[in-house]
């Protein structure tokens, strides 16, 4: 019998993580209802024949669309619980060119029975789940519209090639509808109707040290563009960060003086070495060059000709103003002056003064002469640096190997907060610097999996933090899809074949209890009672050695097991 070799190895591992079995709180997978509002012959009802693709067995275009919807809903259903069905009002219809589709909550509710936070909006599907009743039975919870004009990949296997994977798109948009979005205005900073929501209560501005509901409208507006300094500080997401995000965050960090220290939003160059190749720590020095005669607008800080302060630039980070010549020309001049890295910041034109740090294209001529990393900054950030240059400004440009890409230095997940603000998608997504790529970044990246939780993703963790719970049939706090036994015997004492041993039935980690283990041994040993008794002896010896049971309790279990024929 293999049982004598195999079972004890497993139990050693289980015994290492002993937890008490909690009181049961039975919950079940949320039921998603796709409410097909398409007319006959179109959208979900399109009869155009289609060959099955990637596990999608539909034989018409309409069937395949519906199956993809149901598949995405099923992925969420397996990971969220609710006693109230989640109704998605859905259609495929002719949308404008390049509009793939949309989904979002139809309503929000606050101050309902069982609301975790008073005076706080919750998306309706979440509010229903928390309330335990349908707060708006006549209304669907999520509104979804997708385009008939766009050629989605309709397979279920994520093998989408160059096409856009409909399942990944749906997982993303459904998550917005389930609660992955905030409702404060990014035009005025005002809270919706004067109340915060389930999401923005966990948005922490690390510069101000305030959560969004604690801020004034003006502070929220400013916070929304504080790149890298707005984090979602829910405990589940924070716990997932080290499991999901990789170490090594590209960064432009001012080290000193303290008044301007911190990370800055930056753009990258299409020429020269990548940021981090090598990482540079040096002082920032403003480049000075001759004002080119006959060039309107030429300045001594535009870096368009040889630097006159090359000795001061050598080995340092050259700071250059945008304009008058190409980015690569400036970076080449800085390289020639011996700079270790280059910062080019937006100049004071109508188009650039308040613009995001630009992505910097090369010119095909000067690119090859640039041998140091080059980044760009927005103008306001650079002027703050310029104002401190008299006292010395020290900065890092490179890869911070101590920080995870997509998290801050304290390991909290960054949300998308670019400058200038990106309408509603700022804040309601994870930061685009995240690595690995996350489902809830603003873009649907082609390397996404269909997994929505750690170690692949952190969407589920955020939804959990805002109030969703997971299907947990046995109430042992282990989600069913992670539970080594989703139907554990969680009775307080070990009961074998109706005989109560009186021994506390402890959890062994991973969602299994002692009783589960003994029952599994019985099943594995089949009719061979001797094997079963022997395996029980082995296991209970290990439990005793691990301090989980006493000698008397071990004996009680073994005696009871011996009677189980």
């Amino acid at each position: 019998m293999t049982i004598r070799r195999r079972v004890p190895i497993r139990l050693v591992a289980l015994a290492l993580a002993s937890v008490l079995v909690p009181a049961a709180a039975v919950a079940g997978p949320a039921q998603f209802v796709i409410v097909n509002i398409n007319a006959p012959g179109v959208g979900f009802n399109d009869p155009t024949p289609a060959a099955p693709v990637g596990g999608n067995t539909g034989t018409t275009l309409g069937e395949q669309r519906l199956i993809a919807f149901q598949h995405a809903a099923a992925i969420w259903s397996a990971r969220l619980d609710s006693a109230v069905p989640i109704r998605i009002r859905a259609q495929f219809t002719a949308l404008a060119p390049n509009v793939l589709g949309s989904a979002g909550p139809t309503q929000v509710f606050r101050d309902f029975t069982n609301a975790p936070l008073a005076g706080t909006w919750y998306h309706v599907a979440l509010a229903n789940k928390l309330a335990g009743v349908d707060l708006s039975p006549a209304t669907d919870d999520i509104n979804a519209n997708f385009s008939t004009n766009f050629n989605f990949y309709l397979g279920l296997d994520n093998n989408h090639g160059a096409l856009n994977d409909l399942v990944a798109v749906l997982l993303h948009e459904f998550a917005h509808g389930l609660g992955f979005s905030q409702t404060a205005s990014l035009a005025t900073g005002a809270l919706l109707g004067g109340f915060p929501d389930h999401y923005n209560t966990k948005l922490l501005d690390t510069t101000l040290g305030l959560h969004w509901p604690q801020m004034t409208n003006a502070q929220r507006l400013e916070s929304a563009t504080r790149f890298g300094r707005v984090v979602f500080d829910g405990v589940g997401v924070t716990a997932a960060v080290p499991v999901v995000l990789s170490l090594g965050s590209p960064t432009v960090d001012v080290n000193s003086p303290a008044s301007i220290a911190g990370g800055y939003q930056f753009g990258t160059a299409a020429f020269g070495p990548r940021i981090g190749d090598p990482s540079v720590t040096a002082n920032i020095v403003e480049a000075v060059d001759a004002v080119e005669g006959g060039v309107i607008g030429a300045t001594p800080t535009d870096g368009c000709s040889a630097f006159t302060n090359a000795a001061a630039i050598a080995g340092q980070i050259a700071l250059i103003e945008r304009g008058q010549c190409g980015f690569a020309v400036k970076a080449r001049n800085a390289t020639q002056a011996g700079a270790a890295a280059v910062i080019i910041y937006n100049n004071n034109t109508a188009a650039n003064a308040n613009a995001a740090p630009p992505g910097m294209a090369g010119d095909g001529i000067n690119d090859a002469f640039v041998t140091v990393p080059t980044v760009s900054l927005r103008r306001a950030d650079a002027l703050a640096i310029v104002a401190q240059l008299g006292g010395g400004v020290n900065a890092d440009i490179g890869i911070d190997l101590a920080v995870r890409a997509g998290a801050d230095a304290l390991g909290r997940a960054r949300v998308y907060a670019p400058f200038p603000v990106a309408g509603g998608s700022s804040i309601s997504h994870y930061d685009t610097v995240a690595s690995r790529n996350l489902l809830m970044e603003p873009a649907i990246n082609p390397d996404l999996t269909h997994n929505v939780k750690a170690p692949f993703d952190m969407t589920w963790e955020l939804l959990h933090d805002v109030g969703w719970t997971f299907p947990d049939a046995d109430g042992d706090t282990f989600p069913d899809d992670e539970d080594c036994n989703a139907a554990s015997d969680v009775r307080p004492t070990i009961i074998l074949n109706g005989r109560d041993t009186g021994v506390p039935n402890r959890g062994l980690g991973a969602g299994c209890t002692m009783t589960d283990t003994l029952v599994a041994l019985k099943a594995a040993s089949g009719p061979n009672h001797g094997d079963f008794v022997s395996a029980v002896a082995h296991v209970t010896n290990q439990w005793k050695a691990a301090g989980l049971i006493t000698g008397a309790q071990k004996a009680a279990i073994q005696v009871t097991a011996a009677k189980w024929r």
Partner: protein
């Protein structure tokens, strides 16, 4: 594509948008114009500039689906002291795509007309 077919297609888009948006009441959307090619022509498969009508359709769609100004939304009492707010079809993430040179697509989930316009290279037509 004939002019009639183009008009018919655009009419279908407008009908769909009206159906999505439900009752209107919003101010007329800003006028935008395109600065880059982002439409893949369905007949030729080539990349081309959007027509003014297509730009209008994009803007109208984004206006209908995206985040609604909060001042248009009103809260209403619900059972047991709860308060609800109908989001008027808005507050949805809208997924846009623009083609890359290699035939792949870059996507962006936006919530407002302005974000979508920036992504697709539309600028306000002030004339």
């Amino acid at each position: 594509m004939t002019r009639q077919r183009v008009l018919a297609a655009l009419a279908a888009v407008v009908v769909a948008i009206v159906a999505i948006a439900g009752p209107a009441g919003a101010a007329a959307p800003k006028k935008f114009k395109a600065t880059r090619a982002f439409v893949v022509d369905r007949q030729s498969g080539t990349l081309r500039m959007p027509t003014p009508a297509e730009v209008d359709a994009v803007v109208t769609t984004l206006t209908a689906l995206g985040q609604q100004p909060a001042e248009r939304l009103t809260s209403t009492p619900a059972a047991n002291g709860a308060v609800g707010m109908d989001l008027a079809g808005g507050f949805a993430g809208v997924l846009l795509a623009r083609p890359n040179d290699d035939g792949s697509w870059e996507t962006r989930c936006v919530f407002t007309v302005e974000e979508g316009a920036e992504f697709l290279g539309l600028v306000e037509d002030v004339q």
